[in-house]
Symmetry: C2
Subunit: 283 residues, 2 copies
Amino acid sequence: MARLLDGRRLARRLEAQIEERVREGTARHGRPPGLATVLVGDDPASEVYVGRKAKACRRVGIHNPEHRLSAETTENELLALIADLNADAAIDGILVQLPLPGHIDKDRVIDAIGPAKDVDAFHPESVGHALLGNEAMAPCTPYGIMLLLDDADIPLAGAEVVIVNHSDLIGKPLAALLINRDATVTVCHRLTKDVAHHTRRADIVVTGTGGKRPLAASDIREGAVVVDVSTVREADGAIHGDAGPDVAGKAAWITPVPGGVGPMTIAVLLQNTVRAYRRNVGA
Amino acid sequence: MARLLDGRRLARRLEAQIEERVREGTARHGRPPGLATVLVGDDPASEVYVGRKAKACRRVGIHNPEHRLSAETTENELLALIADLNADAAIDGILVQLPLPGHIDKDRVIDAIGPAKDVDAFHPESVGHALLGNEAMAPCTPYGIMLLLDDADIPLAGAEVVIVNHSDLIGKPLAALLINRDATVTVCHRLTKDVAHHTRRADIVVTGTGGKRPLAASDIREGAVVVDVSTVREADGAIHGDAGPDVAGKAAWITPVPGGVGPMTIAVLLQNTVRAYRRNVGA
């Protein structure tokens, strides 16, 4: 039976370190780290995510003012708010919850966030730093996966890694981070001729298809590491990822869903906020 | 026998278009595009590259002031020159020839080039834009390869591409450009367990190992496309890439060395300069 890549446990451990740093920093510099959250409209899934991040901020002592704007907010109003937050000395990170309403140009909004406050690491400059292997804001979900793999001492140099996802937020930046660690990386997606051919030869499979392409035991080799980035919520409330129940019987390591990658994404967001804070206060 | 991906011919065609735009722009806006070249020290290979770029600028009418600095130039002196060039309204692009002497921090110098003048697309922001698929400065060698493949109508969506190179300048940005076009991309390098296993299954092989890992006919499948990014100069003056002489008998398409990827790199540099110019003059 596969061992668990337990994101909830690792995130708790990281949060304990972060809380310690926040406490020390607040005592020394007279203010806690500040992460401003901006939510436009009332998408229910976004509410859930923002709520989870707010709870995590409270747990570690990060100041987390929320800016809730109506779905009718104009792009200019949103850009003006971001300009204010860029200039606000009590704010170290700015998180604009995606998706934004269709009349707002997402790229323009992300580009407006000062790179130093881009704790989501969505800005092209942050993404470029990740690809070039520079120390900077870490893309939250990809870096969370790296921390999980490192925590389990899973070797990356020379490992055959197959990623089934080629999005801007997951597949592409994760590929860059893994290549920087000398893994041999293949990025697959819905136009790949034979995804199973790739996943079957992989030492590490990262799957994030939102349930569109389930992963079965026959799709992996014995002893593979399986990282499941998908979270699918069924009508009856049941939650699962891409990996079917038989995968754990063949894999050596697997991330549970929920409790795998999800908590790590939030832990990295907190880490990025504290990193931005320490730079701002000159620590 | 493989058909040639003739970079010299395509580059000439692109240069003709660029020359036309430069002539029109110069007439309308009263000045030609300006590409400042900075060469520190006297590395003979760098001399050759700078000389080639200077010739190309002359062919198309781009103003190309050269700044030759001694190997003893300090980092601060170089940064001061770049600040001047960033502020110079007659300069649209800044090209700092690499490598720089060891006492100068390359990343600091590249970061100092304004992203709008980063025609080499080395700046993290340019690299990030490439990964995110945004219109911006194109990384010269990777984008040159894309133009060669497109010119030959080689299908990319769903194609299995194997890149043997994971550098910041070639493998990583090229992987991003190909993923953006829905290719299934694998990035290999010296720690990859079995490179030939990957190249043998590829529709398109891109090899750039500087001759360290030669590519033989037995390493590719019948009808593959082979892009050879390496240029190796033997003691007797002979020039070759990674691909051995037997590869052309099995591949469907192949880049010659010289005359394949090399001229395309320069053509993209000129394109980037004209793009920056048109933005600066408000065209």
